[in-house]
């Protein structure tokens, strides 16, 4: 398969669209956790009741008023196929590895995925490019209402939507944005911003890599509380903080450009050079260089490279995708070689 074809198949169609503030916010996501009345939760369910859950949801999403959804049963997928779905953020690692009778429903452009029999019976997930929290919540609510037409949810007047984990009870809503924050990391401001955000009841995570040492300077900010606040309030609080962080990142970028233009250019061009010429590259170094190149594109220091390169290559250079592209299982050393080849070829596509 040609690289262009592989990339176009591998990247979810929704990711190819450009969203608001997409120089800093890569994507917005909403997840609603729901359970069906009278069925025990997946951790306590047997095969029969788990299959009944799948049956009742697939029949109500099959009606004409919804866009077509494709159903994948976890037990029928190979480990590499599941890994690829995890790397595309379409299913959780938990569904891929733990859930015994898990399944997922996806729409055509992969912006909607409904996980079944994960920790909860139903997990509705909606994704959109850029900063579009309101839109994704609206979409998730539509699907929620549609499912509710056909099934009774486990709902309590006092506690709201009942979920398996006490951290999700109430609204069952987890909203998050993925942000690229290279200037805040470079200017060492991120280590002060993270505790401040935590104090507001929001969580900050590096998506790739652990803790504050986020690979590729990509951070996820999400709400922690699900009980006692309305969906709108939760989203407003999150959106307010995200807007602040966007401003801070923009200010830091300007500061870098004003004070250290040459040093910045040197750093970014070197990273581009590394990606263009590497023969062996580990994921950590690749993520760092890709982040630099993306910053270079946003600041118009590196012209003529498409903006989606960071999003694309952060996904494509993960172990699952590399092995799918290679069509075989690879050792970590072999992956580093494949990763280098894939990145070089991808950048060559830009220079034509």
């Amino acid at each position: 398969m040609s690289l262009e074809r592989f990339i176009s198949d591998a990247i979810s169609p929704w990711m190819k669209r450009e969203g608001p503030e997409s120089d800093i916010v890569l994507s917005s996501r909403v997840r609603l956790a729901r359970n069906i009345h009278q069925f025990v939760f997946p951790i306590a369910a047997d095969k029969e009741s788990a299959h009944e859950v799948i049956g009742s949801i697939s029949s109500c999403t099959n009606e004409e008023e919804t866009e077509p959804l494709e159903m994948l049963m976890m037990e029928k997928l190979k480990p590499i196929q599941k890994r690829v779905l995890v790397e595309k953020h379409l299913i959780s690692p938990n569904l891929a590895e733990q859930a015994k009778y898990g399944a997922v429903l996806m729409n055509d452009d992969e912006s909607v995925s409904i996980m079944l029999n994960e920790e909860d019976h139903i997990r509705i997930q909606c994704l959109a490019p850029g900063f579009q929290l309101e839109e994704v919540l609206h979409k998730a609510n539509e699907i929620d209402d549609l499912i509710e037409k056909n099934v009774d949810y486990a709902f309590d007047e006092k506690r709201g939507y009942l979920t398996s984990c006490p951290t999700n009870v109430g609204t069952g809503l987890r909203a998050s944005v993925m942000m690229h924050l290279p200037a805040l990391v470079l200017t060492k401001k991120m280590s002060r911003i993270i505790p401040a955000i935590n104090q507001l009841g929001l969580a900050v995570r590096g998506i790739y890599g652990e803790g504050t040492e986020a690979q590729g300077n990509i951070f996820q900010i999400s709400n922690q509380m699900t009980l006692g606040k309305s969906e709108e309030d939760i989203m407003e609080d999150l959106a307010g903080v995200v807007a602040q962080v966007i401003q801070q990142e923009r200010a830091a970028r300007k500061q870098l450009q004003d004070a250290l233009k040459l040093q910045l250019e040197d750093k970014l061009f070197r990273s581009l050079g590394t990606l263009e010429n590497c023969r062996i590259i580990q994921s950590k170094e690749a993520a760092k260089c890709l982040s630099d190149v993306r910053l270079g594109i946003d600041l118009e220091i590196l012209p003529g490279i498409s903006k989606t390169i960071l999003n694309e290559l952060m996904i494509l250079t993960q172990p699952g995708f590399l092995q799918q592209y290679a069509g075989e299982v690879l050792t970590p050393e072999e992956r580093d070689i494949r990763r280098a080849t894939l990145i070089r070829e991808r950048i060559k596509l830009e220079n034509r």
Partner: protein
């Protein structure tokens, strides 16, 4: 002394934790100590559920001070069979009925996890929503009925009683279907 985790085996490991000057004692068996990585020296593994499990146990870890936090070993959910100890250990409910079965223990947990909140303030599902509205109406009508009886307005009381019966019948049917 029995292990505070499984309540089955003899406790053979005794720990004292001092966090912010607050002293907590743990008495557990070797088996449970291994499962709870935090007790093994040099092990840093920990997950959200372990963290949560710590919260769920609350101060039930101080065995010499029986208090309102004492959890009877029999506390369990009759629908899915999950015991409170199991719930505290894995940090997840087994079914919707667990919320009722463990009701008396939940407020402190929700308060810690959700910034002091214990009551839902968000979306109400459309269908369940209508019966919630009716339940509220029912409460109001019952209060009115009492008032009519006290005031000896028996005609109005009879009318109200009929409306109450009608709503109760509807709610009952809704539950069956």
């Amino acid at each position: 002394m029995n292990c505070e985790e499984c309540h089955e085996r003899e406790a053979s490991l005794h720990f004292t934790k001092i966090i912010n000057g607050e002293k907590t004692e743990f008495h557990i068996c070797e088996h449970c100590a291994k499962e709870k990585g935090e007790f093994m020296p040099g092990s840093n593994s920990f997950s959200i559920h372990q963290l949560l499990s710590g919260l769920l146990h609350g101060d039930g870890h101080v065995p010499n001070t029986p208090s309102s936090n004492f959890i009877p070993p029999s506390l369990s959910c009759e629908k899915c069979g999950m015991s409170y100890y199991q719930f505290a250990k894995i940090g997840r409910f087994g079914c919707e009925n667990c919320y009722k079965a463990f009701e008396s223990k939940l407020n402190p947990i929700f308060k810690r996890v959700h910034g002091g909140n214990t009551l839902h303030a968000g979306k109400i599902p459309l269908r369940a929503g209508s019966s919630i509205q009716e339940k509220k109406q029912l409460q109001q009508l019952k209060q009115a009925l009492q008032q009519y009886i006290l005031n000896e307005e028996f005609e109005k009381a009879a009318e109200t009683r009929d409306i109450i019966r009608e709503i109760e019948r509807r709610l009952e049917q809704g539950r069956d279907s």
